[in-house]
């Protein structure tokens, strides 16, 4: 199954998902597609003014351009998702999109989709971290079963 993650660039969440044979809808893959495109030259991510316009699908024109630019990349991943894992209160070292408003909007869209969602709080101890990995694995196994 295609699983959206939040933060969308969390390497740990993406790794746990792929270990269970699912596809993580990670932001890095989308950015990579843009960066290796030889046609555009707008460093660092090759995002042009077109992205905030594409982002209008997810947020209205009065929403700041940086939110719409981020949503142009993350929004299609949400659209594709069959399930999602959301980690709240994660430090930015764990992964982030940089903008709190984009975070709020992205999590809302994921929740609105009525797909299986696992919501977690960032672990603060070793025990909680082990518990978190077990919870994620159980969630992912459950998806497999549901999927048949």
């Amino acid at each position: 199954m295609k699983i959206a993650i939040f933060p969308p660039n969390s390497l740990i969440l993406a790794d746990l998902i792929e270990r269970k044979g699912h596809e993580a809808l990670a932001l890095q893959k989308e950015i990579r597609k843009k960066v290796i495109d030889p046609e555009i030259d707008s460093p660092p991510f090759n995002i042009t003014e077109e992205e905030p316009i594409k982002g209008l699908k997810y947020a209205a024109i009065e929403v700041p351009s940086g939110v719409r630019g981020r949503m142009a990349i993350f929004g299609p991943l949400i659209d594709e998702a069959d399930a999602a894992i959301i980690m709240e209160e994660a430090p930015y070292g764990f992964g982030c999109v940089g903008c709190a408003r984009t975070n709020e909007l992205s999590m809302y869209y994921l929740r609105k989709k009525k797909i299986p969602i696992l919501e977690l709080q960032y672990p603060t101890s070793r025990e909680e971290a082990i518990e978190m990995v077990n919870t994620i694995n159980t969630f992912l196994d459950g998806l497999e079963e549901k999927n048949g």
């Binding site: 905030p52 351009s65 719409r68 940089g98």
Partner: protein, 409 residues
Amino acid sequence: MVKIAQISCGTEYSGIQKEIEKAAATFGAEIVIPEADLDYIDEAYHKFGFNVASSSIRLMIARAMSIVEGKADADAVFIGTCFRCAEGALVRNEVRRFIQQNTNLPVVTYSFTERTKADELFIRMEALSTIVDRKSLLAREKQEGLTIGIDSGSTTTKVVLMENNRIIGTGWLPTTDVIKSAEDGLKSAFEGTGYKLDDIDGMGVTGYGRLTIGKHYNADLIQEELSVNSKGAVYLADRQKGEATVLDIGGMDNKVITVNDGIPDNFTMGGICAGASGRFLEITARRLGVDISELGGLALKGNYKNALLNSYCIVFGIQDLVTSLAAGGTKEDVASAACYSVAEQVYEQQLQEIDVREPIIQVGGTSLIEGLVEAVSSILGGIEVIVPDNSQHIGAVGGALLVSGLGKK
């Protein structure tokens, strides 16, 4: 090469990073991003004390802190956040103050959209790089010798002749042919002074036509209007230290510049419609059968509440005016309502985009309309508005003042 440190969030996601770099490169500057590792972000952000939710804004704060703490090398600072982002706007202004209070670096700020193009940033980047290159010149607070300043604006050309910190001649006329208008302005400024062009120690030019005029007269100083106008305004208003806002409600467009110790750090320019410009007041005066110079005094005697004039459009605005007069409104009330309407629109369209700092130094031809000045102050909650003598000549005064810093010929 001038190093401009970029402190921002969202530029890369708005697709405008390339435009920012292009704008800086046009003026011989390069954009550098101050380094900040994860631990430093936390440390700097807690030290700064502004609890923000966006991690990119925390990174902005850390980048500002690294400049203040000398960890990053920069000659100037560009601060940008997304237009309409409340968190971004709050931090943008606090970071700006933080850098200005703790360093001597020139700062400009901008709130961008995905439509931001390099040429919109040109005047800011040019101001930053000239402020760095001409720091000692901009520190000048007194005019010396015999110098002339020309401000070749889009609507009018202003010329000021100064001698030992005193204005001795002026010229003010509509810009038709850029060079011809400057020539006529010079003639008028020299008239009765006994001096001629060969006698002057220096010429400083600014405004839209500065490059053409600068080349024609081989001017000693050719500089963008942002720093020249700021300098001219604070000089004339005797507010060379501290913060202020320079407001110019023009014939065609409006400019608002915020300054710190006479150095500009943000500006906004525009005007959706002529209904928010001096042009509307000119037409109002004509319709009332008075000279534009009498309109302000008339407005002071009236009460804007007795006449409804609040259209964004000059055509509908005039319709309102005719209706008010037909309904028995007095000339005074209509004049007052016209001034209030322009001030209200400038507030709604532009002043809300910028952190207005007291005092406002109102300049340009429209600053001579007393009713408009009072309306601006009243709309901003009674803020202090200063209209210095010769307020219509700030650009030319700034040019004459600054060029005197280059010494005698």
